[in-house]
């Protein structure tokens, strides 16, 4: 058993191999930074939503504030015009102008408040930009940890687990990196919809009228349809008709079919058995409205329609999924050894590999030139390191952990006594055949290597 961490106080000879492996280790870690850096950049490019959402929020606040200013100002101006054109007595005119002045004062106060809100949101946008910038190879594990937390908070917000989302954000101190306040707005609407109340949703549609129109959203129409259905359900037919005239008819030009279908419920009534109309009265229509709202909401803020967790999880599961994952002896380090992950991965594609990769069954380490694969007489492959270790412990005897075959380590191969054959252990070695194409010589070789070059290896 090695106590690798114990320093050697006296012997320089014994430090030599340590420093040798140290060099190898540092060489290994020093080699990939450029690819690591590229990987980091690529992963940062996935963070569109992270920057976009607070910015949309900021924009929205700016626009709302601006609208208030415009409205109030034109109200004041037309107030003056009215006074000038009307027939006011002297005192009335003074009073009128005074009220306009105080109205302007009120507006200025509002403007200041609005500006504070804008400032806070601008700040949040900056914090996020800085957070992305702060990611480098040194703080990677901490940064990744925070990212995972952000992803989970996003999941909980979308699933309406608000309290836990707030708690996780608070205890990890990442409030500025997640969109809890944005989702508060959605929560009000969703809660109301779940209580069969469409008014907050309709108010939300009015607030975002222009952008919803631009994206040809029919959320408002669907909300109106539901309100109509509720009137029919209550057998309030006259009001239903009046409602339809006022709110549904304008949608006739674009959504005539749905309009007609809903109108027919007047004839069929709530307890109809006719399936076309029966579904319209079902309570799950409200769930459908919630989903529709969530979709529009996400679109408006530049979020992905699916929770980030689902997206990353799906990609990760696919990349990890191999036929071996579902076998009984799947290593426990593989997430796909767990029932839950296996279930989630079931409908997903398998990963694709172009290069062979050999993981030692015993040590679970990836084999490479430093620790090449060797094959026992029965065809089972293990890493040199694992076999050497085993031989050392058991007086040169090697027991195949999968078949129980005992081999003696005495006469052949790299270490005496065992018929071990080095299978081409050139994994990870690359060399240029021509300037343009690089052949990766490994168990899985791209292209056929001229044997002369091979011999030089």
């Amino acid at each position: 058993m090695e106590m690798d961490s114990l320093p050697n106080g006296n012997s320089t000879a014994s430090t030599a191999p340590t420093s040798g492996t140290m060099n190898a280790a540092t060489a290994n870690t020093a080699a990939p930074p450029s690819s690591k850096l590229a990987q980091l950049t690529e992963s940062l490019k996935l963070e569109h939503q992270f920057l976009r959402v607070p910015f949309e929020h900021y924009k929205k606040t700016i626009r709302a504030n601006h609208r208030v200013v415009e409205k109030e100002m034109s109200a004041v101006i037309s107030g003056v015009a009215e006074a000038a054109d009307g027939n006011l007595s002297g005192d009335d005119a003074v009073n009128h102008l005074n009220s306009l002045v105080s109205r302007l004062q009120g507006l200025k106060r509002k403007l200041e408040e609005g500006s504070r809100a804008e400032h806070l949101q601008a700040q949040r946008c900056r914090v996020r930009l800085d957070h992305l910038e702060s990611a480098d190879s040194e703080n990677m594990s901490e940064w990744n940890n925070t990212r995972l937390k952000r992803i989970i908070v996003d999941y909980m917000l979308r699933m309406s687990y608000y309290d836990t989302a707030v708690k996780l954000a608070e205890c990890s101190n990442i409030q500025d990196l997640v969109d809890i306040d944005v989702f508060q707005e959605a929560k009000r609407v969703i809660d109301a919809l779940q209580n069969k109340d469409v008014s907050p949703a309709l108010a939300w549609c009015t607030d975002n009228k222009f952008r919803l129109k631009k994206s040809k959203s029919k959320l408002e129409f669907q909300l109106r349809l539901q309100e109509f259905i509720e009137l029919v359900r209550a057998e309030n037919n006259m009001r239903a008709i009046a409602y339809a005239r006022k709110y549904l008819a304008p949608w006739g030009a674009t959504h005539m079919k749905e309009l007609q279908r809903v109108m027919a419920t007047l004839a069929f009534k709530r307890d109809t058995e006719c399936s076309t109309y029966k579904v319209l009265f079902e309570p799950k229509q409200w769930d459908y409205l919630v989903d529709q709202f969530k979709q529009e909401f996400c679109k408006l803020y530049g979020m992905t329609l699916e929770p980030l967790l689902n997206i990353y999880l799906q990609a990760g599961l696919s990349a990890l999924k191999t036929p071996y994952c579902y076998e009984d002896d799947c290593t426990k380090e593989d997430p796909l050894s767990q029932e839950g992950f296996r279930t989630l991965a079931l409908p997903l594609p398998y990963s694709k590999q172009h290069h062979s990769k050999l993981v030692c069954y015993i040590t679970k380490e990836l084999m490479d030139t430093e620790n090449p694969p060797q094959v026992l007489p029965n065809g089972y492959v293990y890493s040199t390191k694992a076999l050497e270790e085993m031989a050392k412990k058991n007086d040169g005897k090697i027991t195949c952990p999968r078949t129980g075959l005992v081999s003696d380590a005495k006469c052949l191969g790299k270490f005496p006594g065992l018929e071990l054959m080095l299978i081409c252990a050139y994994t990870d070695i690359c060399f240029n055949v021509t300037q343009t194409c690089t052949y990766s010589v490994s168990l899985g070789v791209t292209g056929i290597i001229p044997w002369i070059i091979h011999k030089e290896l």
Partner: protein
């Protein structure tokens, strides 16, 4: 990706917002000024009580407000602001992947399973309160929390170690010492070593000696060399930092030891040492970029994507995500399967069975190894088990 240009674009937008804001304030003040002036004039002529004068003052005010033309004054800065806002959005869209759900397969996740995975992750990370709240808010059954009790002990031990208290860790290691030895771990000794060094640091030779006799001696049969070194430390008591053994004092040792304990603890529980959710998401983050690139190229193949049995592009994951041996036949470029296993040829090179069958015309003739000038007899090829 150039974050600086994006930052500049944002600063520009924020600046324009400030401009537009101060313009609005300015215009409001202007209007108020005009109205207040008019009021003053009206009050000064109050005594004359001439209706005509009111009229003229009011219509003058109307004209002057019309001349100020607030809407037009606001329009300019507002336009610039809008342009800056649009520019920032464009900058974002240019530098980032606009829609990372492009490579998403529309399947209904079982929410229940997903929630279990998330709850398990919380407990594994030691976020016990968050986990409890999550379970109750998501309405998952209490049984989801079974994993919690397993990890409570581990985090108590780790928390104590953060405060340089090895007591709970040593107690745990002593209770599980057989299992630890069985799995080939010397954690128990490492913990005692750390405790011994702590005593040395405090400069109490007798106590250190006593500790070594009681706790280190039993490891003598297997770890004599290590214990000898530790005993030599006694010579440098009080100045260990200047001794050849100063590395023992490194604060990083505590982190290493904590990591090791975590690994062994999970190992004894029969669990992976990293949260499986962390591992999967990390793999997903590496996988998405190439996948999205592919989806951009194959924009029209969205339909196919939904039913593919294998990812359309190879994804090179880092070492830590390699859990299984994969053999890709260098001739056919196909992944080996149970029906098409890797075969070792007599020269030591490996191909898949089907490739060998093809090259040997169903084992009827010898063929040349594609790697070396060796004539291979298909009959002598042996199957490999990776």
């Amino acid at each position: 990706m150039d974050l600086n240009t994006i930052k500049d674009a944002f600063d520009c937008a924020a600046k324009k917002q400030k401009l537009s804001h101060s313009k609005a304030e300015e215009v409001i003040d202007q209007i108020r000024q005009e109205i207040e002036n008019a009021l003053e004039r009206m009050q000064s002529i109050n005594n004359l009580d001439s209706e005509l004068d009111y009229r003229s003052i009011l219509s003058e005010l109307k004209t002057s407000l019309h001349n100020i033309a607030p809407p037009r004054q606001l329009e300019g800065p507002q336009k610039e602001l809008n342009a800056a806002l649009v520019k920032y959005v464009k900058a974002l869209e240019k530098s980032f992947n606009l829609d990372i759900s492009k490579a998403y397969r529309n399947i209904d996740y079982d929410i229940h399973t997903l929630n279990q995975v998330v709850a398990g992750h919380f407990y594994r990370q030691g976020l016990f309160d968050v986990g409890d709240q999550f379970i109750s808010e998501a309405g998952e059954p209490e049984s989801t929390a079974t994993i919690k009790s397993l990890f409570l002990e581990m985090y108590q031990i780790l928390e104590a170690m953060k405060n340089q208290d090895l007591g709970p860790a040593i107690t745990w290691a002593a209770t599980n010492s057989d299992k630890l030895t069985q799995s080939g771990s010397d954690l128990h000794l490492k913990l005692h070593t750390m405790q011994f060094v702590k005593i040395l640091e405090n400069g109490s030779r007798d106590e250190a000696l006593q500790y070594a006799r009681t706790y280190l001696a039993p490891f003598g049969s297997n770890h004599m060399a290590d214990i000898q070194k530790l005993m030599a430390c006694l010579l440098w008591i009080g100045k260990l930092d200047r001794s050849p053994y100063h590395a023992l004092l490194s604060p990083a040792k505590w982190d290493v030891l904590s990591e090791e304990l975590k690994r062994q603890f999970c190992n004894l529980l029969g669990l992976s040492c990293n949260s499986p959710l962390s591992v999967t998401i990390a793999a997903g983050i590496q996988t998405l970029p190439p996948l999205l690139k592919f989806m951009n190229v194959m924009a029209g193949k969205k339909q196919e994507w939904q039913s593919m049995n294998q990812l359309p592009v190879p994804v090179e994951l880092d070492r830590e995500f390699q859990f299984h041996s994969i053999f890709v036949c260098p001739v056919s470029k196909e992944q080996a399967t149970e029906d098409n296993p890797p075969m070792l040829m007599s020269c030591g090179h490996v191909l898949c069975k089907q490739s060998i069958m093809k090259m040997s015309k169903n084992s009827t003739k010898m063929f040349k190894c594609p790697y070396c000038p060796f004539d291979v007899d298909a009959v002598q090829c042996r199957q490999l088990y990776l």
